[in-house]
Subunit: 261 residues, 2 copies
Amino acid sequence: MTSVIESASNEKIKVASKLSVSSKERKEKNSFLLEGLRLCRDAAECGVSVRTFFYTQNAFEKHEADVRFISSKAENTFLISKAAALKLSDTQTPQGFFCVCACLPARDEESILKSGKFIALENLQDPSNLGAVARTAEALGITALITESGCDIYNPKAQRAAMGSLLRLPVIRTDDLCALIGKCRARGFKTYATTPSDSAKLITEADMSGSVIAVIGNEGNGVSQRIFDSCESVTIPMKGRAESLNASVAAALVMWELMKG
Amino acid sequence: MTSVIESASNEKIKVASKLSVSSKERKEKNSFLLEGLRLCRDAAECGVSVRTFFYTQNAFEKHEADVRFISSKAENTFLISKAAALKLSDTQTPQGFFCVCACLPARDEESILKSGKFIALENLQDPSNLGAVARTAEALGITALITESGCDIYNPKAQRAAMGSLLRLPVIRTDDLCALIGKCRARGFKTYATTPSDSAKLITEADMSGSVIAVIGNEGNGVSQRIFDSCESVTIPMKGRAESLNASVAAALVMWELMKG
């Protein structure tokens, strides 16, 4: 039988709510909060460890089969009041589906980095950009996403923009992208760093065959010098007055060319 | 001398504030509100008719030259209080720059549609997607953006995501995209409609030479049947489990291929 939580100040609700706003809290608890029918079902389907599933009466009435399915995969399930749902939600009209999940187990970097096509994000700040890149990467068939610093993949905005991709796509989080790039170059990878500078090689003329890592830089400052030093610079030719492309669009064009190689 | 507005319930502030939330109000008043240093300066620079410029003392202290420049292009200028700025702003920490601008004059459809590369958006719902498409379109050198129904280009979220592109890029707003496409086909344009269906021709194999219109559909429902009937279907090959690409990313990849033709 499902337990019921009425109060928005219930301890379990408070703890879950903190996970959605604090990256520090997510790290300490090694867990994160997902919201929405689609993301909760995605998590249950792809084997993410669901510690707690919260749903509302309204969610049950509209999507009983989904509630039963997610509940069958969760360690604990609670029926919660509308007030508690509002406390957990990012939106004003929550769907009434929330999962506290364990952070994904670390990937085996060595086996993933044997070969393939990789997109690396250096210090990306906007979680929506991170999520959008993951969604595109999965759709285009990128091997794995590599991130160094910047926003974390468990940020609710990143998860929402990713539409489940961040639960499925392999993500390698590194503290030293330079070292990772150096290691891959030694294995014969081609490594590219993107820049708006038009003196760089056109992305359409770069050799994308074999194993490749392409680096997209921070929204404001681009790729850092230490990364440029260990990569070949490539650029997306631009014609208009717009100073630059949005990071997730630049990443999409780079991945598109990458997957042609 | 600049007049001063202290109260957030001042009539001019109320009228301007309505423009940011209501598309109906924008249509009735034939004007729209821009927020932020960059957008206000872009408007003043590219000849948009600035009816009223509002700035805060803080904005003046930080960016005096910009305040003077925008003010020199505006019909009226008001120094406003922080409270009034908060009333006008979309954000909690406004930069203190706001312009009420006249909606852009209608473009000469006939001369623009003579030749070139066009992206058409059918009933796009998310203003951030619309803005992102415009930003990419300008950067890649697209001739003009064509829109039918959906969100309007004066929506503040669209303007923000466009980073000024919607003030510069020619936009043709049509009530009948089918008729427009028919007319262009008669002139020898190639017309493509994008679909996730993998039975369609790959976007990389479509002939993008000469004049081309490519249609991106609504986020939920894609391109409508009536448009498919007057276009050749093209698709972006996908490999992963992600059901589809974000509309602004799909548009970016299509425009990228378009500009190679």
